[in-house]
Amino acid sequence: MISEQSVAPERKRGKLFFSPFLHLKKLYAFIGLLLVLLFFVVPVFRLGLLSVLAEGSFSLAHYREVLQEAATWTTVKNTIYITIGSTVLAIVLGVTIAWVMAYVHIRGKRWIQLFIFLPFIIPSYITTLAWIQFLGKSGPIQSVVGWAPNLYSMGGIIFLLGLSHYPLVYLFTVDVFRKIPRELEEAAKTAGAGRKHILLKIVLPLALPGIAGGGLLAFLTNLDNFGIPAFLGIPANIRVLSTYIYEQIVGFGPSAFARAAVLSVLLGVIALFGTFLQWLLLKKSRVTETVTRDMEPRLFLPEKKRRLLEAVIWLFLLVTSLVPFLTMGALSLIKAYGLPFEIENLSFKNYQYVFLTDDKTGSALWNSLMLAVMTTVICLIAGTVMAYIRYRKPGFFSKMMEVLVTIPYALPGTVLALCMIFAWMQPVPGWNPGLYGTVWILLIAYVTRFFVLQVRGSYTALLQVDPSMEEAARTSGAHGWVKWRSILLPLIFPGLIGGALLVFLMVLTELTVSSLLWSSGAETIGVVIFSYEQAGYTTYSTAFASVLVLAILTGGLLFTAFSRRWERKVMKKK
């Protein structure tokens, strides 16, 4: 039956206005480009400029001075040894675990994956602190074996760097392994190749782009790391470029900034060279990305062997990522450093001092929290806008913007901190807005550094949404805000929050950039823990760090629970 309603009634005719958006869009694009250049590119140029200026004119005097010193070359040599050593360790660990996780039939892969990712959310200086306790005088190894390796050494730095960054290699290679079609292996098998032969001739060559990509990323991260060489290297007089730059600035020599700038350029050149190499390799490896992931195991071990392998993996994961933290937590309860771990020596005295007596801690917590919230909100909004532009208008312009905002993240933290000082001390020659020396320089630095994380997070979330979802909203009459509120935001929310949480955690526990940009009254959590450790108050730093680890883990678990709930309740996924 056809009712009257459906028989085309007189249609409403609104007056159609032309949206002037075509012109506005050009203006917005221009403003966007200007902001990106101002915040992300100009600071890097300023740093390079400063290294070649002496008393207002072009000169290579600083380079000559710095490069002629023996200390510089010792530092460069240390940097290269440590970076290469830790990268090799990260690759060996990462590739082995990735291969097992991709191909071998073992139980509990979900939990294993969770433990592998743990070093991602716990900052490396806290991991270092935990390991210092684990292998220290009152630690379990010393009391059981009576001897423990000395972490305050080149080997110790390499070990902790490798341990902290192997998840990067794992992350890059595990999917590459999964994407290698199993038919290739079967074809080799029917052609008579043995297992060893297949691994060496088929699997590893095909996984090479992934391994190289992950390896180079680990290389960059090792090069950039400040926390580990600062906690372990400075007391042992082992310097790498990132800590050497820090010492220049803190030491306040007559030409401290210029010298630091030269060293930063040195470090930046190594880092950018690595980034370039990585880009080249990833560009070549694109072919493998089109193949689908094969999540089914390919290697079935006999019961006994499988149990043995599972035991080895769990032992490794527990020893590397759980036991040190438990040790740290336990030792933070000891009244005074050096006392044995016995009931009568335990108390909450350290916690009481850190959180109730010392004013610095309270203000650092407050500062870090505020900075983290502000950075997250700014990145969330601006980063999502940028990701949306990249998603809707893919092309040279949006791609270039992303490359530009990646620069501050790819640069070593110490270098970026210097860039920030030079760029914001006098943004325009002769005008000092008074940002340096306040908490605001930290905010700018954090946003600049971690912006790309949110862009990537939001972009990945948007990629999951079919463009027709949005188009359907528009043909249903929804304009800008309604479209975002009712359709896009509910669909990308977990992805957005995932990116935002990463930014939040990064800022909350940031050490490298903060250690150069903090000022009295504007300390952050990382800076306070670092200064406790430098002053020898190990029990205080461990107490603070233990609380932080607990908070991070709680946050991570809450997020996991939230996103599962969201998918079930809102997205109706089963």
Partner: protein
């Protein structure tokens, strides 16, 4: 009424549409038919307003909606759209889907806005889904999803209904049912439907007017019957009618195949443009087939496919492969047999009551 004047669209150096001119009348069901990459989806996106043309103008009801410099976005146009992938929002119920355009579409009637529940019920009844309004998309079958997508598009009763291959994600049987549904909805809403498809069966079955496109250009515009029986270009003949394109010469209304100069065929309704190119398009069902001793072109049977209603043969004639459809009651041949082919005399004109 929709009018396109010299509309072109370029993506970088690739031209997706070459100066297209097209008019669609009120209440008309227009099918845009062509192979993938022919520009039909680009055309639909331009009509929806998702992008502006590189040159040319689009008018709706006499006012300019898109040109190189100006664009009225989709949310300000009086349109509805059905997507190939359904594009249902996973976090909304069927009811939410229908209410959404009622609330936001600029052309929803005020009385519907006042009583949205009644309108939703009415629309869902129209598509046969009145029992399911609190379901989520993940709880619906493919056919039900498509009905929701359809209901969402027609709920505010837009002037223009755009459909982007709406049936291609459904299985064959469901497609046949949905054809009838869409025809009925067209009758009930009297909307101007622009229906993009690569399936000539769908276009022939439903449309008032078919626009055949190839490589960004319009090949032919006409009624389904004209497109099928009187193709004007070689592309339309082979794409829509699956014609065998016989090369030869036209002289005084009779055709002589190049490979068989002693044969002459009558005019079976071939367009002037094709005559000038020296083609005689013969649809598979227009062949008369006889054994070796019969009159006509001699060829060898390459393959035989029994199809229930008909038997399909592929015949090799002078190194060309021609398709021939024969009734199951006619004489059967086997692969390797030599047969003779001739063109059936001009068909009877259809009679409309």
């Amino acid at each position: 009424m929709i009018q396109l004047h010299d509309v072109s669209k370029q993506y970088g150096s690739f031209t997706a549409l070459h100066s297209v001119n097209l008019t669609m009348k009120h209440g008309e069901f227009t099918a845009i038919l062509g192979p993938s990459g022919c520009g039909k989806t680009t055309l639909l996106k331009l009509l929806a307003g998702f992008m502006e043309p590189t040159s040319g103008e689009i008018q709706m009801d006499g006012s300019l909606v898109a040109s190189k410099h100006q664009l009225i976005p989709p949310e300000k146009r009086n349109i509805g759209m059905v997507f190939q992938s359904f594009a249902l929002w996973p976090h909304m119920t069927v009811y939410d889907h229908i209410v959404f355009p009622l609330r936001h579409h600029r052309h929803t009637q005020d009385e519907w806005k006042k009583d949205m529940v009644a309108r939703v019920q009415h629309v869902l009844k129209m598509v046969g889904l009145d029992q399911l309004f609190d379901r989520y998309p993940s709880e619906l079958s493919g056919g039900q999803k498509q009905r929701v997508a359809l209901a969402r598009a027609i709920a505010p009763l837009p002037d223009i209904l755009l459909m982007d291959e709406p049936l291609s994600a459904l299985d064959v049987e469901l497609r046949m049912d949905m054809r009838t549904e869409i025809q009925r909805i067209h009758r009930e809403t009297k909307a101007c439907i622009v229906y993009v498809t690569h399936d000539q069966g769908e276009a022939l079955a439903m449309a008032d007017k078919i626009v055949v496109m190839n490589k960004g250009k319009i090949e032919q515009i006409g009624s389904p019957e004209d497109i099928y029986t009187k193709p004007e270009t070689a592309f339309v003949a082979s794409f829509v009618g699956k014609c065998n394109m016989v090369k030869g010469k036209w002289e005084e209304g009779r055709f002589t195949p190049r490979a068989f100069p002693w044969e002459t065929w009558p005019d079976i309704g071939v367009a002037e443009s094709l005559k000038q190119e020296g083609f005689c398009p013969v649809r598979p069902e227009q062949w008369a087939m006889a054994d070796e001793s019969g009159e006509g072109l001699k060829g060898t049977v390459l393959s035989v496919q029994y199809q229930g209603k008909e038997v399909h043969y592929v015949i090799e004639v002078e190194e060309e492969k021609w398709t021939v459809h024969q009734s199951i009651f006619s004489r059967r041949y086997q692969a390797g047999d030599t047969v003779s082919l001739a063109v059936k005399a001009a068909e009877q004109q259809p009679v409309f009551v």
